[in-house]
Symmetry: C2
Subunit: 336 residues, 2 copies
């Protein structure tokens, strides 16, 4: 059970520990015979490098931390995949943390990542977590904000123009003849939510006679969406909105489930519905869901890109805000 270290390997191969380390890290600096003797010893003893010791010496870990709002949301797993792929190219691993839209969990993950001395942190922050993030960066951990911009322009960020996206969604609903819109989303402390709402407000303001009701939710999940849908279904027909813009696809799918259950409220005839993110399941929904598409994997890989740049440039790095444009995807849920 006694764990095997370079020391044992060195003894077995009849060389010094320095040589074992060289075989591991720069085999070209070691003569061929020695390399194979050391490798044989490693094999024989079942030696496995201790990453903690490496990291301690190196001062940095070989991973980057990613904190997302919800791993259950395919948008974020797609984003994570993009990040992983780019990170792998640089020989780095991605540690995925799920804040679950909770400040305490977000904070706990940031602490954990900092204790791990990660190469950097990608985060889709809950609110303005600016303080903790600045501190994190000041102490030397490169930090990139994903999926939204942040007030503090000294941070790099990769985002999609959510105000524009919200405008796109609401305009589309209005153009198909709807006049009594409802926005479903929350908590409003989440920037993505308030921006999308803001975009919708602007679109509505451009069209006199069109109204916008705002329905708050506690989170962005299918379950919350279903609750809203049931509430809508319970209303008298003339008290219902004729179009719903949900802050993301999970909510939209929940609303859709509740509305179309029992076939009581028809989508899109009675209520048109549009979501946000264009997750893979949107097109497979009861009524295929119109949505606003974001380049999820690209956001992830670009964020890693910026992170690596920040890590390389050190003190004299220049923050960069990359903003992608979202795209309207029309499907049956807003068709005629």
């Amino acid at each position: 059970m006694a764990s095997i270290s370079v020391r044992e390997v060195a003894a077995e191969a009849g060389v010094s520990v320095g040589t074992v380390s060289n075989v591991l890290n720069r085999p070209d600096k070691v003569s061929a015979g020695t390399v194979s003797r050391v490798q044989a010893a490693i094999e024989l003893l079942g030696f496995v490098r201790n990453d903690a010791a490496r990291q301690l010496r190196a001062g940095r870990s070989r991973s980057i931390g990613l904190v997302v709002l919800d791993v259950g949301n395919p948008f974020f797993t797609d984003l994570a995949r993009g990040a992983e792929d780019r990170a792998a190219q640089a020989g780095l691993t991605v540690l995925l943390g799920n804040s679950d839209e909770t400040a305490a969990r977000e904070s706990a993950y940031l602490d954990l990542f900092e204790e791990q001395r990660v190469h950097g942190v990608l985060i889709s922050p809950l609110g303005e977590s600016g303080d903790q993030l600045s501190r994190l960066r000041r102490r030397g951990t490169p930090t990139v904000v994903v999926d939204r911009q942040i007030e503090d322009l000294s941070f790099s960020s990769v985002s999609v123009d959510d105000v524009f996206g919200g405008h796109l969604a609401a305009s589309h609903l209005i153009e198909t003849g709807r006049t009594r819109l409802a926005f479903v989303g929350g908590p409003h402390g989440i920037r993505q939510v308030s921006d999308r709402l803001e975009g919708a407000r602007r679109a509505v303001a451009e069209h006199p006679g069109v109204t916008l009701e705002v329905i708050h939710t506690g989170s962005l999940s299918v379950l919350e969406g279903r609750a809203v849908g049931e509430a809508l279904r319970a209303r008298a027909a003339d008290a219902r909105p004729d179009a719903v813009f949900a802050a993301n696809d999970l909510l939209a799918l929940g609303v859709l489930q509740a509305l179309s259950m029992l076939g009581e409220v028809r989508v899109p005839q009675e209520i048109a519905l549009i979501g946000y993110d264009d997750i893979a399941f949107a097109s497979a929904a009861v009524v295929p869901l119109s949505s606003i598409r974001q380049p999820s994997a690209l956001i992830g890989s670009t964020a890693v890109e910026l992170l690596l740049r920040e890590a390389d440039d050190g003190a004299d790095f220049v923050p960069e805000q990359v903003v992608f444009q979202p795209e309207l995807v029309v499907r049956a849920s807003t068709g005629v």
Copy 2:
């Protein structure tokens, strides 16, 4: 930029490094005044513990590794959530690795986790990865197989009876009057796939006159499902099966998308369809999807439970195979 260690904190607070460590780990052993003095110094200097150093000393990390076949599959994210919750209770973190149904990636994650000296590994293995797993465990890393059993009964495992589940699905299709079944899934090296097929075979064998066609796929994704669906749609109506059992819900949703696109093939009238896993999106599909439900979060938490037990018991632990029973969920896709 000079990083702050316990040494600096000790100097600032006018105490020894040992005392700083005690404040961090057993504040009750230290006088109140000293505690607050040390904490003030920590605050002032912005000290952050170095996890690598802690781990090196401790010999183990405070996380457990989880390797799943596909993070894009909600079944696995649900499982991961269950594992995380249970692990958090024990003060542990879960590192999530995505093998993407690739042997090389699976192996790379196992190596990584071993170098990290994780507390233990949960894995939903690709094939019979027995060799690498045995080695891993022999060297001292507790290992639990999730979502399937493994030949080698010296491993603990938490699984669902997939043969039974396959039987359940196929029987259901047969009972609703279908006679020309098709099983869609692959690769068959994945145990879950072959077990579910085996169950379907048995069900079919029990009913003379019922046939079973097997359609191979390269992976268990929506995309592969869509390809199969399109192939089915392209067939002459009388050459199509009248019922499809897909090895998981992602495949089923893909098949459904392709079939119902353009309304050419009606589900369930022309082809009944059932999936497996009962992910949240199944009930929100074009045609709400019948499925076989597995207790995903419970599998995850139970697996962590077994892992902790194995870690505690050390040498004299007894492997345990927990097998849950799956459950049939009937929705419109197999209704009349």
